[in-house]
């Protein structure tokens, strides 16, 4: 059974509604009525329309020419929707979570602590976008089981079904950075050709000074805004299909927790800067022809930082304990891509090591003995 109870009211029977990723609609558990998100949003106010307008304006806005990220238009106030939100905090790992008033958090998705306590909903921006869960919990479980397959060093007990039941769906807060990178890079390249005469091998090397300069635009480079979620876990389950990105609506939240951002856009910006600069350099390098060698001599990359957006991304999480150590797995709620660290059975490791070493040694010894 799920830990959170979906109870978005059905317009027909006032029964609970929950979002089904496969159909992309909200379904009533009692009367079976289905509604599109738009229909529910229409019923629950005009906030979605405002968010849509914000989405369109964000798409049309050019990158800022300033050297700082433009966070002036980031997120918005919750307004009347704030009254429909709840906050929870985990006394074990200090995670702060929010959800709609119909959802109850019973355990921490990060550390698994069951004594999660209600808190006060305040000081949180309303997201610009939300990427709805597309992957059902059962599919996430299957993805995890599939990940276990072929892991020869995985302890047998770790694949126990009970561990997999702890999986939870969490909307993780992300900052999405727009911008451009102006790159000017110089290389030293060579073209090598060789031919042989009857007495010599002659190698001729042509040397070139190569320069590439250009502009590379970026759109929505993601960086998670939760200190509880390890950055490498979030990076590893990228990319997301932004084509399914929606203006934020409460209608997507029922049944899921949402992590409250606790790392500012400015603090996360360094990660986006690094990724943008490296990628711009890669693209410049990719335009250099098929030289025999190409060594970068100098580079100048200027970032023109643009808008920052606030979005919630769907992530299935599994946190479990194994011999006193906490193991976290994250699964992209849209694509099913999984990231995590599995425990290593040292006994299996050394058995494999001995088996391979003895086997290869025996074969090699025979070959050496009889062939050399």
């Amino acid at each position: 059974m799920p830990n959170q109870v979906t109870n978005y009211k059905c317009p027909s029977c006032t029964g609970p509604l929950h979002f089904v990723g496969e159909s992309g609609k909200l379904e009533c558990d009692y009367c079976g009525s289905t509604y599109t998100v738009e229909e529910i949003e229409k019923l629950y106010g005009e906030k979605a329309e405002q968010a849509a307008q914000a989405f369109e304006s964000a798409q049309a806005a050019p990158p800022s020419a300033s050297g700082e990220w433009d966070t002036s238009d980031i997120g918005s106030e919750w307004g009347a929707d704030g009254a429909k939100m709840r906050a929870y905090s985990c006394p074990s790992c200090s995670a702060e979570l929010i959800c709609d008033e119909t959802t109850a958090a019973t355990s921490c998705p990060y550390c698994g602590n069951p004594t999660i306590v209600p808190g006060q909903f305040k000081g949180v921006l309303k997201p610009d976008y939300v990427l709805p869960f597309k992957l059902k919990k059962e599919q996430a479980v299957e993805a995890l089981k599939k990940h276990y397959q072929g892991k020869r060093l995985l302890p047998n007990a770790f694949t126990n079904e009970n561990h997999i039941q702890e999986i939870k769906g969490v909307y993780v807060p992300f900052w999405l950075y727009d911008g451009e990178a102006d790159a000017d890079i110089s290389y030293e390249a060579t073209e090598v050709s060789s031919y042989s005469t009857s007495r010599e091998r002659i190698t001729k090397t042509k040397h070139f000074n190569v320069r590439r300069a250009g502009t590379v635009p970026f759109e929505k480079i993601p960086a998670d805004a939760s200190s509880k979620m390890p950055d490498n876990y979030m990076d590893a389950i990228e990319p997301y299909d932004y084509g399914e990105l929606k203006p934020f609506s409460l209608a997507y939240l029922p049944g899921f927790l949402a992590d409250k951002y606790d790392v500012s856009a400015e603090e996360c910006a360094a990660r986006a800067d690094l990724r943008a600069a490296n990628t711009a350099a890669d693209i410049m390098r990719s335009t250099v022809g098929s030289y025999s060698s190409c060594v970068e001599r100098s580079r100048s990359i200027h970032l023109r930082r643009g808008k920052v957006h606030y979005a919630l991304m769907p992530v299935w999480t599994l946190s479990t304990q194994w011999r006193g150590q906490n193991f976290l797995f994250t699964i992209n709620g849209q694509t099913g891509k999984l990231a995590g660290e599995l425990p290593v059975d040292k006994g299996k490791y050394w058995r494999w090591f001995a088996g391979v070493a003895v086997g290869v040694t025996a074969v090699a010894a025979v070959l050496i003995k009889f062939l050399l």
Binding site: V344, V360, K369
Partner: protein, 422 residues
């Protein structure tokens, strides 16, 4: 009957040649056999050393035998020459493939002497020089009973006549062997080395050459192309001996302190194997590194002579080491120990791959998925050619017929090389 008795005595004499005179000689010698005890031990040792040195330099054994009376050994009057011939053959005297050598036998009782030569080279040398001329070098001393001076002058005269003979014997020989273009040697040193090189070259019908230059760049070659310069010089100067122009040449380029040992011709290539060239280089490099040019060249020539002598006897200086492993000889323990290396490496590799597969969470450092591809602008695209460099590498072709790491690598031009820095 007298003849039969003489033959019997001779056979006894030949059966135990040294024992016959053992009491007269307390010094173990190979060139000076002073059975009449005409010399002191010090004189004998000194003359033995000189005879050995000159013999090795000339490639021709120089021997002296003193006896009390050859008639006591079963020979008739006037048969001292016969005794000398017999001793030479039965004692297996001589140097080189033809056992070239010269022996002076002195019989005190009748104050007789006999000079006997053996081998084509020695015979021709003494014939050209004149036996009487040679005798004049020692006879005045012998007449004054100055045996030491007489034998010493005999050895010195032999050295002179063999060197002179070598210098005039070969019609195909180049007039010079030591080309000191870098002027590292004094005139005396140059003359001495030239004589030595000529002697060895003519003795083995294989030229031994030295060439020093200031900078191979002056001749249009880079430091790494000294071997090309050597080949060019060897061909253009028509160096070498015999129908195949056999020869070995040491070239020094002083600017980069490069050296190259070049051999040409079947005999030279067979004599100066790859291993042999390394051994040869080890002979002169210590001298060159302290700028002792004369000693370095001297050691080069004398070691070349040794290598040519070994080759003439069918055993060129070479290394036939095949790594120590032959089929069926390796123990199980050894093969297992060697096999454990790939075994452990494989185990680390496989288990390392397994372990890496247990963790796939890695920080992203690139963002190619978030590039608006259609909006990329490439403002500058410059590819400016600056210059061209060229590198030439010599192609070695194995001369074949040798296995196990020995032999000589001969290139398609017929040359073999060994190069380095000094």
């Amino acid at each position: 009957m007298k003849r039969i008795l003489s033959v019997f005595v001779i056979l006894l004499f030949l059966a135990a040649p040294m024992a016959c005179f053992a009491d007269n000689d307390s010094v173990d010698t190979e060139y000076i056999f002073d059975f009449s005890a005409l010399l002191t031990e010090e004189q004998l040792a000194e003359l033995e050393a000189e005879a050995e040195r000159v013999s090795q330099q000339c490639g021709c054994g120089i021997y002296v035998l003193t006896i009390d009376d050859y008639l006591e050994h079963g020979y008739e009057e006037g048969e001292l020459w016969m005794m000398a011939d017999t001793i030479y053959e039965r004692w297996e005297l001589g140097v080189g493939a033809q056992n070239d050598g010269i022996v002076l036998v002195v019989s005190l009782a009748g104050r007789n002497y006999e000079i006997t030569t053996y081998g084509d080279f020695a015979n021709a040398a003494v014939a050209n020089y004149g036996e009487d001329t040679l005798a004049e070098e020692f006879l005045p001393d012998f007449r004054a009973d100055d045996w030491y001076s007489g034998i010493y002058n005999y050895i010195a005269a032999c050295r002179q006549l063999f060197s002179g003979a070598e210098n005039t014997r070969s019609e195909n020989a180049a007039p010079e062997h030591v080309f000191d273009l870098a002027e590292l040697l004094t005139a005396e040193q140059l003359a001495e080395l030239e004589a030595e090189a000529a002697l060895v070259s003519q003795r083995y019908d294989c030229g031994v050459y030295v060439l020093t230059i200031n900078d191979c760049g002056e001749y249009g070659y880079s430091g790494s192309e000294l071997w090309k310069l050597a080949e060019s010089v060897y061909k253009q100067w028509n160096l070498g001996y015999g129908v195949q122009n056999d020869g070995v040449m040491l070239v020094l380029s002083m600017a980069e302190r490069d050296y190259d040992i070049t051999a040409y011709g079947d005999f030279a290539n067979a004599s100066f194997t790859d291993y042999g060239k390394e051994a040869l280089a080890n002979e002169f490099l210590p001298d060159f590194r302290v700028n002792d040019w004369y000693s370095g060249f001297y050691h080069y020539i004398t070691f070349s002579q040794r290598m040519l002598d070994m080759s003439a006897q069918g055993e060129p200086l070479d290394n036939y080491d095949d790594g120590g492993y032959t089929r069926g000889e390796m123990s199980v323990g050894t093969s297992a120990a060697i096999g454990a290396v790939p075994g452990l490496l494989s185990a680390f590799g496989v288990c390392g791959a397994f372990k890496r597969g247990m963790k796939n969470a890695r920080t992203a450092v690139r963002a190619e998925e978030y590039v608006r591809g259609t909006d990329i602008k490439l403002n500058v695209r410059e590819d400016i050619y600056t210059h061209t460099t060229e590198q030439r590498t010599r192609i070695n072709t194995d001369s074949g017929g040798r296995s196990g790491g020995g032999g000589t690598s001969v290139n398609s031009g017929g040359f073999s090389h060994s190069s380095g820095k000094f």
